[in-house]
């Protein structure tokens, strides 16, 4: 870095001073300064996935000694490697949260190998002890039960007995949400059906609006979704006079009349835990997961259209879930093609690994994964 000829006396004195300063540091009571990087795939104010993470980041911003550095709209290409590297090299980040699903493989894994002293935690639950570096890890929330409660509330709001679901891609995470929503609604009234439309993209506002309109045209009167930014779906539904169940973050502001409730992430819990451990110099967990009962997920406050009966029922379900171990995926369970997907006697709570390869839509869902 600096050559010998530059090593003047002044430099040496400077160096000695710096050394003294650093060695004096541990004596101070202040928590260790830590810079934490957050990377989002979309805008921070998308009323959705990214906003949920940005709210979590904002929650730790005020912690003493914590500095956060955030970058939004980073594509899932090698751009994200550059962003991670830039946060580490130029901002001095020692913990990085690449929050989007597609950031993990190969980008975050490569960076984790390259910077073994920096900690990387990815939102999504892909980390595998056998295959991946120990300075990397995953955190994720079981939000399916949130969609289950959405379903319960929706069941009381619907008149047509038809609910609509605007989904991004037919991948396990999304399918669990569709299935949970349907099962929640059908636990109230088995005559209810859920129509699902897959847009094929995480963020494709035009298709999301089309899908929402198509569902309402078919008679669906409560709409929920699993796309990166629910804004378009929620606004379209509101303008058509139908009800919405939210997802990712609170969308009440977008639909003051029709917003029922919503399944929200509560990343502040997770980020606070990581930041505190980081400051204490403790080893960070590699694999963190939790649901409603762990504070990883929360429900939006009920909107004005939710009646007393619906509130009571949903609160009761929520109370059960908060006890932990609540299970809705119980055999015998059939998919919407009539095949038995969970045999009698088997029960998969939200933590069950079997659910993570879900490729089916449960009985009562109208739609197809392909």
């Amino acid at each position: 870095m600096f050559e010998l000829k530059n090593l003047s006396r002044r430099r040496i004195i400077q160096g000695a001073g710096a050394l003294a300063a650093t060695s004096a540091m541990p004596a101070l009571a202040a928590p260790k300064p830590v810079t934490i990087g957050f990377i989002y795939v979309g805008p921070k104010d998308d009323y959705g996935y990214n906003q949920a993470h940005a709210e979590g980041a904002a929650a730790i911003k005020s912690m003493p000694g914590i500095k956060i550095t955030e970058e939004e709209r980073v594509p899932e290409t090698d751009d994200v490697e550059k962003t991670m590297q830039s946060m580490i090299q130029l901002d001095g980040a020692s913990l990085v949260f690449p929050t989007s699903f597609g950031y993990f493989d190969p980008y975050m894994l490569r960076m984790a190998k390259k910077y073994p002293k920096v900690e990387f935690r990815h939102c999504g639950g892909l980390w595998d002890k056998a295959k991946h570096p120990m300075n990397a890890g995953s955190y994720f929330g079981y939000i399916g039960m949130g969609q289950y409660i959405n379903g319960v509330v929706a069941a009381y709001a619907t008149k047509s007995k038809k609910l609509g679901f605007v989904a991004a891609k037919p991948i396990p995470q999304v399918l669990i949400n569709v299935n949970s929503f349907a099962m929640g609604a059908r636990s109230v009234d088995p005559a209810i059906t859920v129509s699902v439309i897959f847009t094929g993209e995480w963020s494709m506002p035009v298709k999301e609006a089309e899908a929402t309109n198509a569902l309402i045209d078919q008679g669906c009167d409560v709409i929920t979704c699993h796309v990166d930014g629910p804004k378009v779906v929620v606004q379209t539904t509101e303008s058509r006079g139908a009800f919405t169940c939210g997802y990712h973050a609170n969308q009440l502001a977008l639909a003051p009349k029709g917003y029922l409730t919503g399944a929200e992430w509560n990343w502040a819990t997770v980020y606070k835990m990581f930041a505190t451990k980081m400051q204490a110099g403790e080893k960070l967990p590699n694999f963190t997961r939790g649901g409603l009962s762990d504070g990883f997920i929360k429900m939006s406050a009920y909107g004005p259209s939710v009646g007393a009966e619906a509130r009571k029922h949903a609160d009761a379900v929520k109370a059960e879930i908060m006890k932990g171990g609540y299970t809705v995926f119980k055999g015998p369970l059939k998919d919407n093609k009539g095949n038995e997907v969970i045999p009698a006697g088997k029960a998969y709570p939200e933590t069950a690994i079997e659910l993570e390869s879900t490729s089916w839509l449960v009985d009562g869902v109208k739609g197809s994964t392909s």
């Binding site: 955030e70 970058e71 090698d78 751009d79 962003t83 130029l90 991948i171 396990p172």
Partner: protein, 369 residues
Amino acid sequence: MSAAEPVAATAPATQLPADSTYKLRRALEAGLVPVTAILAATLLFCVFLITLGRSPVEFFDLIWTGAFGSWFSLQNTLTRAAPLLLTALCVAVPAQLGLIIIGGEGALVLGGLAATCAGLALADAPTIVNQIGMAVAGAAMGAVWVGIAGFLRAKRGINETVSSLVLAYIAIAVFNQLVEGPLRDPSSLNKPSTYAIPDDAMLPDIPGLEVHPGIIIGPIFCVLCWVLIARTSTGFAARVTGGNIRAAQLQGLPVAWLMVGACALGGALAGLAGMIEVAAVYGKANASLIAGYGYAGVLIAFLARQNPLAIMPMAVLLGGLGAAGGLLQRRMGLPDATVLVLQGMIFVAILASETMYGRIKWFQPRGTT
């Protein structure tokens, strides 16, 4: 020219003096006009920043830090510039014939996919055979794809700008269909991808750097294309066609085949860019390939006024802006679109500066009146 000087000096006053510095002044014009345009855009952008209440000094300081200021930043810039060199050529080469091809994205995406297929098919072949196979497959696929637009133009008179763009949409749809369907690796649950090509078939980084070989391949093709256009009879024929198509036809130039050929060459280069992205960066084909490099190439080609040599600095400029974009967001809290505003201003300024060529007398040939 220098031989003529003494003659001019001794010639009678009525004879025209030779304009010995004309070539130099013309080169200066070609350099000064775009530089002035960039400066003007920058000034305009400073006004924009000041109205936002931000410091232009801090802004450009961060651009420097993020794009060129450290070894890491420079490598970041170069890596971003690498694919843009080839996709810009996909625009600049057909532009010599007056064709405006904006669908390089399609050639890149399908080229990447074809390269992946070749890489998988040749998995057991020696590394070098595999790599050459991937390059050939990628380039061939790209050549066919953009060649179609050239063919439709030459034989059916269909507007190549529209057809190439529409072909890019089709290419992306076909790509998604194949990657999510028949070519999908079933283990890629949540992000559909093809199987990965063997690790040893990957193109290694340039020794000592973290930049993949695309940054060498790109400039080589920029120079080769410049030679082809400026120093060969084929290139001359292409430029004649671009200048006046009827004159070219009267001369008996094979106009139709020049069109198809230029489009195919451009497409091949974009396809090669796709192959490099697969073989040096991703190792497999998935939606990451659809990153807009094809469209960024259009911007660069126009900034470079379709000159393959000028593509190099322009690609570095845009690569640098891209590399610094994140830092600007993080340090100044500026929205991500700020860099796009600057890019847009530069683009408009350079296009507007086109009208300045030939207007400033000092650059014009002297002694001709």
